[in-house]
């Protein structure tokens, strides 16, 4: 059945490297949590690290990297498009605190 599994003769070394990278990146997130910086900066940095972690996990633990290129492109483009589409409403999230966005624009 496999397309992505035929490659698994390279030993466990690569998996271990990815595993330790993920542990290290998770550690970085905990370090960022204790940094004395603005919450927005903290959020941005943590999210960036989480995206790197997720990419490593998807590409190597889930073996997307060794699937057909068309499938890889489909998964990445489709997922990122929808995730970005969800971000359209952020300006509205401060409505409860500061009133409707752009309400002072004349």
């Amino acid at each position: 059945m496999t397309t992505a599994t035929d490659h698994k003769s390279s030993g466990i070394g690569k998996d271990l490297i990815i595993y330790f990278c993920l542990l290290a990146l998770a550690g970085v997130q905990f370090v960022i949590a204790y940094q004395n910086i603005d919450i927005a900066q903290k959020f941005t940095r943590m999210l960036a690290v989480a995206c790197i972690e997720a990419s490593l996990a998807v590409l190597f633990f889930m073996h997307l990297w060794t699937e057909k290129r068309a499938f890889l492109v489909f998964v990445v483009v489709f997922t990122i498009s929808v995730l970005l589409g969800m971000q359209y409403g952020w300006t509205d999230s401060t409505r409860m605190l500061v009133g409707a966005p752009f309400s002072n624009v004349k």
Binding site: T3, L16, F30, L97
Partner: protein, 206 residues
């Protein structure tokens, strides 16, 4: 010429197309499920961020990172054991594949235990779905919803690990089923990578 003529006349190989993206159907189905589930979790996390951004008295009830760090370590390690189990299954080593699948399940149980213990700790401090002693009641609703959804996935994964592992050992399932289950388990791990910073680490009280 009809489809029946083509398939009945010995030309079936010429008209049968490969599965989409040339990957097996079951694996494609799991990937599509994962993509759909990604949207579910993303929607929950975006809604959580929306509430947090728009609420002035958002609580920060977490005093320590010990528990969440341990949970993260356990879940990441379970992904590694899942990979080792898959590798053994692909090499035809049934006993080893079964053993590593069960180790993965045990790590999942440990994660779920720590998670539930943490929930009870917060409940003991007075936190419910709708109120808590520290600030807006929205925190409890979003916290229990997101972590509860993730915990549901973990518990489902544990059950699947046990069922697939046993059936693989008995010969009813093969290594492809272990691989598909592995995709799901890694996805559960992946979601946790976003839950930890957004739900826990941004709400540390320091």
């Amino acid at each position: 010429m009809s489809q029946a003529d083509l398939t009945m006349g010995g030309h079936s190989t010429s008209v049968v197309t490969e599965p989409p993206f040339s990957i097996p159907t079951k694996k494609l189905a799991m990937w599509l499920f994962i993509i759909a589930d990604t949207m579910t979790f993303a929607a929950c996390l975006v809604a959580y961020g929306f509430l947090r951004n728009g609420t002035s008295d958002w609580p920060r009830p977490f005093h320590s990172i010990t528990n969440v760090a341990l949970m993260t370590f356990i879940l990441l390690t379970s992904s590694l054991t899942m990979l080792i189990g898959l590798r053994a299954a692909k090499e035809g080593d049934k006993a080893s594949a079964f053993r590593w699948t069960m180790i993965t399940a045990v790590l999942g149980i440990a994660f779920a235990f720590l998670h539930i213990r943490e929930w009870f700790g917060l409940i003991d401090e007075g936190m419910t779905m709708f109120k808590n002693p520290w600030g807006t009641g929205l925190f409890g609703a979003s916290f229990f919803s997101i972590t509860g959804l993730h915990l549901t996935h973990v518990v489902s994964g544990i059950i699947a690990l046990l069922v697939v592992g046993v059936r693989y050992r008995s010969g009813r399932y093969n290594s492809d089923d272990i691989e598909i289950l592995g995709l799901y388990w890694h996805f559960v791990d992946l979601v946790w990578m976003f839950v930890v910073p957004l739900v826990y680490l941004l709400n540390l009280s320091h």
